[in-house]
């Protein structure tokens, strides 16, 4: 039997803490994403409406401006549930558009041709991989959804005083929770689609299809079967129901909140299941 002499020195130092390791993926995703001028343009466009809202909130508290337009009422436009519901609808749809352009390239290049093995043949789990990619998308979408939403609330509070904060604190919580749920749902859907659809353009189109063709299909189901259960196929509508409830605004929907919540949970679970089937370190060739 051969006798081997060990004369090398493997790395034996301390490892970094495990929990923030998934941020490495987030960091590298951003390094690539922000090289795209188109993406930067799209993000800028997504911020036009919030900037308009901020300007409006500021001007509605600016005495010179109110005198200039000869306004004599108590408030130019009330910053309430309806205002933030509209904000959620506009920014939520823009976030969906942004996702369709950015997310398809997040997972599929790693899965195509067995690239997942590279990530998983080290102390890095499938859950951490998904978390790393999800965080990248979550932070990007946050930038155009709840972050500017809360900024508007803060600016309004600073102009209107503590009375507004005390009376409307639920509004900030509802806005944050509603948009975080939406961003998570969008991110999960996008990752699942990206994991299963290899071609970037097809994945983007499918993502838009899920959110917008679902609306048409749901309406058709409602019309044919004289029901309102078809609206549950429409993830946008489901989210509107949740936003309306959280922001205490009546949007005229007849869909019960509990149905909407069940649909959101089922959709998220389906996305996670699809990811678990695809994000793995081996491929079965039958």
């Amino acid at each position: 039997m051969a006798v081997y002499k060990r004369n090398y020195a493997p790395y034996s130092g301390r490892l970094t803490s495990r929990w923030p390791r998934f941020f490495i993926l987030t960091r590298y995703s951003y390094a690539r994403l922000f090289q795209s001028r188109f993406l930067m343009l799209l993000i800028s466009l997504c911020l036009v409406y919030p900037l308009g809202c901020i300007a409006f909130v500021y001007l509605s508290h600016n005495a010179s401006f109110l005198r200039l337009i000869n306004f004599r009422g108590t408030e130019l436009l009330s910053i309430d549930g309806r205002f933030f519901y509209t904000f959620c609808v506009v920014q939520g749809n823009l976030a969906c558009l942004l996702t369709a352009f950015t997310a398809p390239a997040l997972v599929s290049p790693d899965i195509v041709n067995g690239g997942m093995q590279l990530y998983l043949c080290r102390p890095f789990s499938r859950a951490e991989y998904v978390l790393g990619k999800l965080t990248g998308l979550f932070l990007l979408l946050s930038l155009v959804t709840w972050v500017p939403g809360l900024l508007i609330f803060v600016i309004k509070s600073s102009l209107a005083g503590w009375g507004f904060v005390r009376a409307m604190d639920w509004l900030a919580g509802g806005l944050l929770l509603g948009l975080v749920i939406w961003v998570l749902l969008l991110s999960l859907t996008a990752l699942a689609v990206s994991a299963w659809v290899k071609w970037k353009n097809a994945a983007g189109a499918l993502l838009l299809g899920i959110y917008y063709i679902g609306a048409g299909f749901g309406t058709a189901v409602n019309a044919v079967f004289h029901t309102n259960l078809g609206s549950l196929i429409n993830l946008n509508h489901v989210m509107y129901v949740v936003w309306a409830d959280l922001l205490r605004y009546d949007n005229g929907s007849e869909t019960p909140l509990r149905h909407a919540c069940v649909v959101l949970v089922l959709a998220s679970a389906l996305c996670l299941w699809l990811l678990s089937r695809r994000v793995r370190g081996f491929e079965v060739v039958k």
Binding site: G13, L15, R18, I24, N113, C121, F124
Partner: protein
């Protein structure tokens, strides 16, 4: 002893109804071990099991005493280079190695140092700051090898590492494997190129349809294939006389005179008795120039153990 070996204890892995590997029991010592078998024989499954990418459906695996279910400990010991040419987009060779070291949990400064060392070791320093997408196939193989060896693992699992390398780089890479083996590491290699396997391996594991059909040192594996007569090539001064003498032995099944008239190829079922006969012939005055086994290589063993099964499919 098991702390220095890769142990597979009655391991099976099924992908639903598809068989990956079945009832594999192995004890792999340090050195270069080659996994040999046709496509779909279970080589990559075996490597994925070692790397903890998949769990066995049945059985137990330990890598130098550590089960693959403990990744933080396992991946200090193990480096894996997959057969796939898939790299994260936009990264340079250096970023590629550094990123995957940091994913393994190494601090940033160590990542840079170890990446530089590994890149230098595979001869990629000059191209390290170019994007991987612009690399040739051989360069991609080498940068993958660099990420596998960067943290100086004791176990290297390399799936088809010699594919796409030009002869010079191939020779350098084989020399690197030999160096790793000489340092006491396990180098597990899969390859389709049998003469290369023959050249570099300390031991081979032959797989067919998910089963291990032979394992050990090539010579030992050959000697256990008893249903195939061993072929011995003898170069001597009187091949005709040697052939006729050989035919008097009941264990000799065939003797072929070589076309150049300078030797004879003899097939025997009992190598021990055969070599005794050659000794006697030499003592009695036959001039024997060389005696060499003609089918004591991976190529022949592959043909005996797997070739028949493949052709019968």
């Amino acid at each position: 002893m098991s702390d220095d070996r890769i142990i597979f204890d009655n391991v099976s892995r099924f992908y639903g109804e598809v068989l990956g590997v079945n009832r594999v029991t192995l004890s792999i010592p340090p050195g270069i071990t080659s996994l040999v078998g046709p496509n779909g024989s279970g080589k990559t499954t075996l490597m994925n099991l070692m790397a903890g990418l998949i769990r066995p459906t049945r059985g137990r695996i330990t890598i130098l005493g550590i089960p693959p279910g403990r990744p933080e400990r396992l991946f200090r010991l193990l480096g894996y280079s997959t057969q796939f040419d898939s790299f994260p987009r936009g990264l340079t060779g250096r970023q590629f190695v550094t990123t995957f070291l940091s994913l393994a949990g190494l601090p940033r400064r160590q990542c840079r140092e170890l990446a530089d060392r590994a890149i230098d070791r595979v001869g990629m320093t000059a191209a390290a700051d170019r994007r991987v997408a612009a690399y040739s196939k051989g360069m991609r193989q080498r940068i993958k090898l660099a990420q596998a060896i960067a943290h100086d693992p004791r176990v290297l699992v390399l799936d088809e590492p010699l594919n796409g390398l030009d002869p010079l780089i191939r020779a350098e890479t084989i020399a690197l494997f030999r160096q790793f083996a000489a340092e006491g590491r396990h180098v597990i290699v899969s390859s389709h190129v049998l003469h290369e396997v023959d050249m570099i391996s300390d031991q081979v594991i032959l797989l067919s349809a998910g089963y291990v059909v032979g394992e050990g040192q090539i010579h030992d594996v050959r000697s256990e294939i008893e249903d195939r007569p061993m072929q011995v090539l003898i170069r001597c001064d009187r091949p005709g006389a040697l052939a006729s003498r050989a035919f008097q032995e009941d264990h000799v099944v065939e003797a072929q005179l070589l076309s150049d008239g300078g030797g004879v190829l003899i097939k025997t079922r009992d190598p021990v008795r055969f070599y005794r006969m050659i000794n006697r012939a030499a003592i009695e005055g036959a001039i024997i120039e060389t005696i060499a086994p003609a089918d004591d290589d991976v190529n022949s063993i592959y043909g005996y153990l797997i070739g028949g099964e493949e052709s019968s499919r």
